[in-house]
């Protein structure tokens, strides 16, 4: 595998709040290679969004960020604001959930696209910037791109706006694209269009993609590798096939078991959903042992309550180049063996 575009090492984010210190991200490590898509999944409050905002220096000053995040060899977390700004427009593209709030409502689409191109001196002048902007809009499949340059965000539909946001993110020809719930606000047919678009553009430019979402269906469709977050920690990672077909952590198992299925399994009618009881722990009050322990239906080991399980290789995996790891003392494979199935 080639040199990673992004290598995150032991990322931690803490923030002092009136209710005490919130441990939002607690030791996250992963890397993304060119052309690869890594999905970060988790429920609200799992720290998935904060973990990428920390990379780009988008958190408030009172947030304490430690660890390292090497982007093309340079540590993003050690950069000054001026350097970061250069990276944001010129190496890393970002797409957030709500296209209405990430676009400026009083500036035309063209103005917002050319702004970045001019600021990062990717074009010689306004005329060329406009040409390039129209080309970018055409690339993301906006009908009549030239006319769209003079329109305003409110004149476009949600799907079209998100295309514009993607065009802006791609304007700097980024090596890394970070998408945070980028299709969550969109209808499924529009989501399908956007996912197709991102896959196509990624294939053309060998862009590394970090895709943050709570939607396991989207993950199954676009990701090469998955990282499951819970309580600010990575509880499981591996290839999509390993994680979806052989989930090892009880939380991942619970998450997959609680999903309604569109198509019936072998049994015929829809099965009862296996809900996970309770709610995630607040980041100000994480349990001392495994973060999932208070809700865990398994609690397969006496160490679970008091000791943090490290990410360790899962037995019986595919044994490919990408390890399948889970942060649990509970060994699903061993357990299945005991039951005899």
């Amino acid at each position: 595998m080639s040199e990673p575009v992004l290598a995150v090492e032991d990322l931690r984010v803490r923030m002092d709040t009136p209710r005490g210190t919130a441990h939002i991200v607690n030791g996250l490590s992963y890397s993304v290679a060119p052309g690869e898509t890594v999905a970060v999944v988790g429920e609200s409050g799992s720290g998935k969004s904060v973990s990428v905002m920390a990379l780009l220096g988008l958190l408030p000053k009172r947030a304490e960020v430690t660890g390292s995040a090497r982007f093309r060899g340079r540590d993003l977390l050690a950069m000054r604001e001026r350097e970061l700004r250069a990276v944001r427009g010129d190496g890393v593209g970002m797409v957030f959930q709500d296209p209405m709030t990430s676009l400026n409502p009083v500036l035309s689409i063209g103005r917002q696209l050319t702004e970045g191109l001019l600021a990062h001196r990717r074009v010689s002048g306004k005329k060329e910037a406009r040409e390039r902007a129209a080309q970018l809009l055409a690339d993301v499949g906006l009908p009549d791109p030239r006319a769209a340059l003079d329109r305003f965000p409110h004149e476009l539909s949600g799907g079209m706006r998100q295309r514009v946001v993607i065009a802006i993110a791609l304007a700097g020809d980024p090596a890394l694209l970070i998408a945070d719930e980028a299709t969550t606000a969109l209808d499924v047919t529009v989501q399908a269009q956007i996912l197709d678009l991102v896959e196509r553009l990624q294939a053309e430019h060998a862009t590394a993609v970090v895709w943050i979402t709570h939607d396991l269906g989207v993950v199954a469709g676009i990701a090469d590798r998955v990282l499951v977050m819970y309580g600010g920690r990575c509880v499981e990672d591996g290839t999509v096939d390993d994680v979806f077909e052989r989930p090892a952590h009880p939380y991942t198992q619970g998450l997959l078991g609680s999903l309604p299925q569109l198509h019936d399994g072998d049994g015929g009618g829809p099965r009862e959903l296996v809900a996970i009881g309770g709610t995630p722990p607040p980041p100000t009050d994480l349990p001392p042992g495994c973060v999932f322990w208070p809700r865990c239906p398994v609690r397969g080991d006496e160490r679970c309550a008091g000791e943090q399980p490290p990410l360790t290789a899962v037995g019986g995996g595919g044994g490919g180049p990408v390890p399948h790891r889970a942060a649990t003392f509970y060994d699903a494979a061993r357990d299945a063996g005991e039951v005899g199935s």
Binding site: T189, G221, F244, L256, P260
Partner: protein
């Protein structure tokens, strides 16, 4: 689950809509505010909801599914057509009779953060419908009923004295459900009732809704954009597009063999949490956007985005027709059935 075969079809239906239409006027700017057009949110819907079943109503934003749910409960006034609830024409009810309907037909809302009053205790919130309808009179009787309702939705009765901000989203939604059930309704419209909840919590609420249905014999209209959730809870599914129901059938039939090209595209776009299935799948990617509900295309309203549109589509407004037993779709591919479009409308569209 409860769709008893045979029997008297009329007794079987709890809620019946015929030619139901909800148009919102569009007015010009300025002082005169002339009526310049209409948003055709619900535009001629025929729908039967059978006693004890869950009818799932799916469609994308702006297709009119929430407005349809509201119109069935007369929370918005239909501009044409009729709604019958248990044989009574709801559209003609007096204010007093309407209040009685409000007891039997209720709604569970999407956002448990917005639908509960932050300054009212959970107990007061659940007791409010009892007050309005004069049920379980007396402080003790009412408190007992509130405790019973909270227990029914899986909350500890002692939470009655607490305020909404002390609860998680899933717990709040349980409070919303307890409030809806206070008057012992027959019919519950769940409008995106799980949309704002996390996946693991969604499953808790879906299981609760199913459990309550079995215990109380409720009839649900489950309005949602989440097709997998709808498939999971529904006996039958109705698919809406631009103000019309374009397909209705048993949940397993519609999800396995959608007949309307829109339903096919919609289902093919649902991401499946299965990497192998995702690699195999062929998505039908629709081009363009949903037309505005103020300028509905003539004839079949899906024709402007339909990959299989052909000659009769602009000229004949397709009616729902049976494509297999108990499965209907409004599409000319199954035979040109419907109302021919008037010449002037065709010219204008």
């Amino acid at each position: 689950m409860s769709t008893a075969a045979g029997g008297n079809a009329h007794d079987d239906v709890l809620v019946r809509a015929r030619g139901l239409q909800v148009h919102f006027p569009v007015r010009s700017k300025g002082l005169r505010r002339e009526r310049t057009g209409a948003v055709r949110a619900v535009d001629g819907v025929d729908l039967d909801i059978r006693r004890g079943e869950t009818l799932g109503l799916v469609g994308e934003s702006g297709c009119g599914k929430s407005t349809l749910g509201n119109a069935l409960l007369r929370l918005v006034e239909p501009t044409a057509g009729r709604v019958e609830f248990d044989g009574t024409d709801v559209t003609a009810l007096s204010a007093k009779a309407l209040r009685a309907l409000r007891r039997r037909a209720v709604m569970v809302f999407q956002d448990p953060y917005a639908s509960l009053d932050p300054r009212t205790t959970v107990g007061q919130t659940v007791a409010e419908p009892l007050q309005v309808h004069g049920l379980h009179r007396g402080t003790e009787a009412r408190a007992a009923r509130v405790a019973e309702l909270l227990e029914l939705v899986g909350l500890d009765p002692s939470v009655a004295s607490r305020y909404p901000h002390e609860f998680s989203g899933g717990q709040r939604q349980r409070v919303g459900i307890a409030r809806a059930l206070a008057g012992e309704p027959d019919f519950v419209v769940c409008d995106e009732a799980i949309a704002s909840l996390d996946v693991s919590v969604q499953a808790q609420v879906l299981n609760l809704l199913r459990d309550l249905q079995q215990r109380l014999g409720l009839t649900y209209l489950f309005v949602s954009h989440d097709l997998a959730a709808v498939r999971h809870v529904s006996d039958r599914i109705a698919v809406m597009y631009l103000g019309r129901v374009v397909e209705v059938g048993a949940a397993e039939d519609v999800s396995a063999r959608p007949q309307h090209p829109y339903a096919q595209a919609l289902l093919s776009a649902v991401p499946l949490p299965d990497p192998a299935a995702e690699r195999r799948r062929e998505r039908i990617v629709l081009s363009g956007d949903v037309p505005s509900a103020t300028r509905v295309p003539s004839g079949c309203r899906f024709r402007t985005r339909c990959p299989r549109a052909f000659a009769p589509c602009p000229d004949v407004d397709p009616a729902l027709q049976e494509v297999e037993p108990a499965h209907t779709a409004a599409c000319h591919l199954h035979g040109v059935v419907g109302v021919p479009v008037a010449a002037e409308e065709r010219a204008g569209a």
